[in-house]
Amino acid sequence: MKARLFLALAATLIASVLALHAQELPQILVSRQLATLEGLSVGDTVRLAKDAQGTRAREFRVAGIYEPTPDPARLGSVPREVRLHLPDLLNLDLQPAGAEHVDSINVALVDPDSAADIARELNTRTPGVVARPAEGAAGLGSTFIVLERFHFAIAAVTIVAATVFLLALTIMLVDERRETIGVLRLIGFPARRILLQVLVEGLVIASAGALFGLALALASEGLINSFFQWRYDTALVFVRVSPGVAATCLAIGVPLGAIATVAASWALLRRGALRLARR
């Protein structure tokens, strides 16, 4: 009985010491991908070193698992990363006092609009250091902007192709109603009145088509994002039907459809009523 009590006390003591030890260890955050690969979870103790040989390795406690900020420039590479406090990183490096260095310093300004001025002043006052406003750091030629231009170019070509087909279809559809239009002209409907009717019809059809297209885009948005997020193991959003994009689609699609209908009808309406009604 005494021995069992002693063992229980000893076990509790060891567990407390280990828990206390774990509490004292410096903390790190582990990227979700690394945690999955290495089977790490919150509370685990890991050893980190700056080289593969494990020179001057130190123990850390996993305080949390984080989702890395999606970065299109690193698409396809698995972010096996940990985040640790800067003093802990410098300790790992064992640089002599005064020789520690960092890659960059992020500065939050009271007045963000003054970023350019402050960067200019810092560049003047501190030779050897490059200060850049965060907004401008991406630059005009950044990957995002280039990809946006590329997608815009593809969209433009698609619109041209769609317009050509649309014209061909409307010409055929209007041609199918040649006799009806001829009869309407014969019973006294002026060409302008018929053209207005065609325009309204075109607007209704184009609006319905554009709305259907938007609904299709919204429905496929989740599918496309899910596929690519699974494929690249990233939280990056690939497709987003924003209100701006939806408005642009409507602004292009509806007038284009209406204009195509009117353009196709125009040639027909210029013919004489008798010629239209004649079989």
Binding site: V129, G141, A153, V157, V164, I171, D175, Y232
Partner: protein, 394 residues
Amino acid sequence: MTTLPFAWRSLVRQPARSTLGVLGVAAVGALLFDMLLLSEGLVVSMRDLFERMGFDIRIIATDQLPAGSPDIRNASMLASKIAALPTVQSALTIRTEDADFETTVASTNDGSIVGVGEGAPPPWTVLRGRDLRGSHELVLNQHAAETLNVEPGAMVAVRATCAGGSEAPPSLQFRVVGIAELPFEAPEESAAGTTAASLSEACGTPQADIADFVAVTSTGNPDAAAADIAAIGAGLRVFTNEQAIGQLQQGGFTYFRQISTVLSTITISFALLLITVLLTVSVNQRLGEVAALRALGFSRNRVVLDVLCESALIVGIGGVLSLPLGVLMATWLDGILKRMPGIPAELHFFVFEPKALLVHGSLLAATAIIAALYPMRIVARLPIAATLRNEVIS
């Protein structure tokens, strides 16, 4: 009259809709052609770049290509050990760092400097002047030479920003001995080449013997050389050109392949749908005419074949027109994508391959056949007497 000229006459009779149909196929076909060029373009272009550099194998310190790998320590010793292998012809250490270049009158920032070891010719092509012979000598790329307005013989101050450097080193004077075309240089980026030792000096760490990667030329069998190098067991990753390309295909390059697959699928579906509609409406408008032809003695197969030929003519003419249009578009789109930061001037996103042309032709042929199926069915099942009666009554 044979089927094809007959189908041609049917199309010519309705010039507006036929022209628009052909133009639509041309535009869609051009987009499809470009997407096929894009799907393998980067890989083909990268393989070409690798081959032009003349190395078979790359040795780096991590399994993640292309960038972000840690430095290789004791690089020259490793290169010597590798060069001594019987399957290896030569091994060259290569290190790249950021650098700014300055003369007394001009400067260029955000450039790069490549430091190469000994044991193999450097990976650049000298255009003017000569190659490196000693320390503190430099070859500049054309852009840097133009920006700094220097020619061989001039002095240039180099301020290198090196990974792992604890402080910003002072600038170091180099003599420009040649103007060269450097591998992987980006358009409008200043770049220079020097010796590994001179680069270490410019980094403020003259004793450092590090490299980003070791480039190896085999004696003719890259796989055997890669196996021998791996057997050295320095904890490094060894990639033959094909393996490196494979890694890139699995990595960032897949984005363009996926985009290309998605857009090709959408494009071809779009073309299929619209050609089907065009032909169906066209056939529906000519039912009486088709019935009359059948009554005159045209066989069912003949009228069905007419519809198929019409589809083939629209898609065929559109497909042929799509090729020059696609080439023009590819040049335009390549120009857009090459503005991405850090893309080498010699790398292309859209690269022509005979396979792409074959796939393009096959996809369009399949589209022509599938798009014609429904209108062919309508024509095949057309009741001759009833259709003619309806035509007369209406």
